[in-house]
């Protein structure tokens, strides 16, 4: 039997203990689902794909932000005790579900949208995969927006305006996209105290990212790119 403590309530709330039967190859998401289906149907949580593709089931498991669907209980609950809380650094809606609005609004503020150039080329633009810029873009392109890095980031906790690792990583992939025409505005949007220059390179984002992306490296790239733009008078 697993002793599971689950956050109940909103910003103000409390941990409630449940006993859940231990099973082989059980994930934390299995445990949360068991509680909601068998013990307390009022438990609110979020999930969709169950196989690590959608990025919607991230929660704080024994103090660390994780995808619950890809976290086996026996790997994180050595003593049989499990504590499941909502993601940190985001407002709690209810129980284990957080409001991701500010997280995705910050992607927009970081100009995380592809900007096509005004002149439409006659043919497809060929982007050789081996070029340094494309490799840098590819390194960060697999982000699925789960919010694990954002919840693990100390700077987000200290500075509510900070864009966060995921949004800045997204901006860095577009800075390295040779087809994109929005970099003049984008570099201005990601520079400064709410942007890449606030990062202290603690690397919690890179450590916790389930996709093993390195947002700290992406942010360091933005620091270089914005510094170069400033030196050329183009920021």
């Amino acid at each position: 039997m697993l002793r599971v403590s689950v956050w109940r309530g909103g910003a103000e709330g409390t941990l409630v203990a449940y006993d859940v039967p231990a099973r082989a190859s059980q994930t934390v998401l299995d445990v949360v689902t068991y509680i909601q289906r068998r013990l307390d149907p009022t438990l609110a949580y979020r999930f969709a794909c169950r196989v690590g593709m959608c990025g919607s089931c991230a929660m704080t498991v024994n103090g660390i932000a994780r995808w619950t669907c890809r976290t086996h209980v026996d790997r994180v609950a050595k003593s049989g005790a499990l504590e499941v809380k909502p993601l940190a650094n985001l407002p709690v809606i209810k129980d284990l579900a957080v409001d991701m609005t500010e997280f995705f609004d910050k992607w927009a503020r970081a100009r995380g949208r592809f900007v096509p150039s005004a002149d439409i080329p006659d043919d497809f633009i060929r982007v050789p995969p081996a070029t340094p810029a494309r490799r840098a873009a590819d390194a960060g392109i697999e982000c699925i927006g789960c919010g694990v890095c954002y919840a693990s980031c100390d700077i987000v906790a200290w500075n509510k305006d900070y864009l966060g690792p995921a949004a800045l990583n997204r901006a860095w992939t577009l800075v390295n996209d040779v087809r994109d025409a929005g970099n003049a505005e984008r570099l201005g949007a990601v520079a400064g105290d709410a942007g890449c220059h606030a990062c202290h390179s603690h690397q919690n984002c890179a450590l916790r990212c389930p996709k093993e992306i390195d947002p700290t490296g992406a942010i360091a790239g933005l620091k270089r790119a914005t510094a170069r733009a400033a030196l050329r008078g183009k920021l």
């Binding site: 700077i155 200290w158 500075n159 201005g188 949007a189 520079a191 400064g192 105290d193 942007g195 220059h197 606030a198 620091k223 914005t226 510094a227 733009a229 400033a230 030196l231 920021l235």
Partner: protein, 112 residues
Amino acid sequence: MSARAETWLWLAQRGAAIVLAAAVTVHLATIVYAVHLGLSAAAIIGRIAGNRAWLAFYIAFAIAAAIHGGIGLRTVVRETTPWRGASLELATVLFVVFLALAGTRAALALFA
């Protein structure tokens, strides 16, 4: 403060850090050298007084430390307190100027 200004502050702090990396190394090496020779304070002052090169080195060291520390302190204040805006920028400038002047004054007293 604008993104451009913040970027320049970041560049200034990194530039000062490069100066500090070299200056601290030289500073520590000379301390170790002086201690190994068993020099007294009077003997050290006797050797360095009037040396323009050391004076320039320590004035540059003091100014770099003032810039690096001042910008860093501003960041710490912004991360740990709600203090923002023009009053903080003014306080930062005053702090940097005070540190640079105090360091320059000390260097002048020793080397000039």
